[in-house]
């Protein structure tokens, strides 16, 4: 049992890492990866919401009538998103302002509903917890990787610390919308090269 739980956790870190292997949740991936700080903040929020919603959905999976399960999942997810929203406003207000509407938009992030429907509604609580944590951490890693590239080239900094020194001319294409698309596309391409044939 422990072994299976570990497996569910680890698969989120590589085999099914969103948004590369599981092409879901692209909008926040593009929008919040201007800086590593934003990416980590978003990642934490997703880990919390995904883990909690997976556990709750899995715990009540036999009580929900089939026809309204999606509506119930959405209520569960939206509840945890609102909790994150309130807590972030209370404790990390500047980060909350930076992430803006992308915090409430976690509700419609396909990863959450996708995991609730495809995994948590069919598996036990422990496995769902492992799955939520794994996918959440994988997503955070992916966000941070993309954000590192964009921040280093776009601002010349990493987590607000200068990398190239003052003479560096920032390549601001990277932190604008087009740069986000191209950068993610190329990262996806690199990931595909590693895929087993």
């Amino acid at each position: 049992m422990v072994k299976r739980a570990v497996n569910e956790f680890v698969k989120g870190l590589w085999e099914e890492i969103p948004p590369f292997r599981l092409v879901l949740g692209l909008c926040p991936t593009l929008a919040v990866t201007k800086t590593v700080e934003n990416a980590l903040g978003m990642g934490m929020a997703v880990i919390f919401v995904l883990t909690c919603s997976n556990v709750i959905v899995s715990a009540v999976r036999n009580l929900i009538p089939k026809q309204v399960r999606i509506a119930c999942f959405i209520v569960v997810i939206a509840t945890f998103v609102t909790i994150v929203e309130l807590v972030m406003q209370a404790f990390t207000y500047p980060l909350y302002l930076k992430l803006g509407i992308f915090i409430p938009l976690i509700v419609v992030n396909c990863i959450l509903l996708g995991r609730a429907e495809a995994f948590a509604s069919k598996n036990g609580v422990i496995y769902s917890l492992a799955d939520g944590l794994g996918i959440g951490i994988g997503y955070t890693l992916a966000l941070s990787a993309l954000a590192s590239i964009r921040e280093i080239f776009g601002y010349g900094t990493f987590y607000h610390i200068s990398v190239f020194g003052p003479s560096f001319k920032p390549f601001s294409f990277m932190v604008k919308a087009p740069g986000a698309f191209v950068c993610l596309g190329l990262m996806l391409c690199i990931m595909n090269m590693f895929k087993k044939k």
Binding site: A31, A71, V75, A78, L105, L113, P178, L186, N192, K195
Partner: protein
Amino acid sequence: MESYIVLVISCIFVNNILLMQYLGNCPFLGVSKRMETAVGMAMAVIFVLVMAGAVTWVVNYYILKPYDLEYLRTLSFILVIASLVQLVEMFLKKNIPALYAGLGIYLPLITTNCAVLGVCLINMKEEYDFIHTLVSSFSYAAGFGLALVLFAAIRERILLARVPKPLQDTSIGLVTAGMLSLAFFGFKGMIH
């Protein structure tokens, strides 16, 4: 009148929801492989978004605000949108089967299209009045449709080209979207 024109241009081109605000990318990449599906999705989004904009405006200013319940905004908006989509689907199926045949399969996808919830939240953040909300919802949706149709047209051509294996599918799609976004950047100076 002037404020409406500025709003329309700003929502369709300058702040294009897909290419500038990064919203609604999942359907953008998902249904853009063929022109017909792209047009169908664009119509469905325009249809739902204008209704959702109107309903969420009423919910916000007549239910949430008077009772100081604005922290329930996310929860109530998503439920309103989800039930609205269901209602529209049932209504079309029964009364206008021709339209349902065209839009039907896209409607369930719209609930989790972040462009819909996103635009409703933007409308509240900008504190638009009712008419401005309608205009902005329509224009954002039209911008979504425009980008989607343009993108689908490009993608049909890419199908004919020889793309390196690792770059195929989503990957080349994202790079193409980046180029399209770069083109939309040209509109940036239009409105101050």
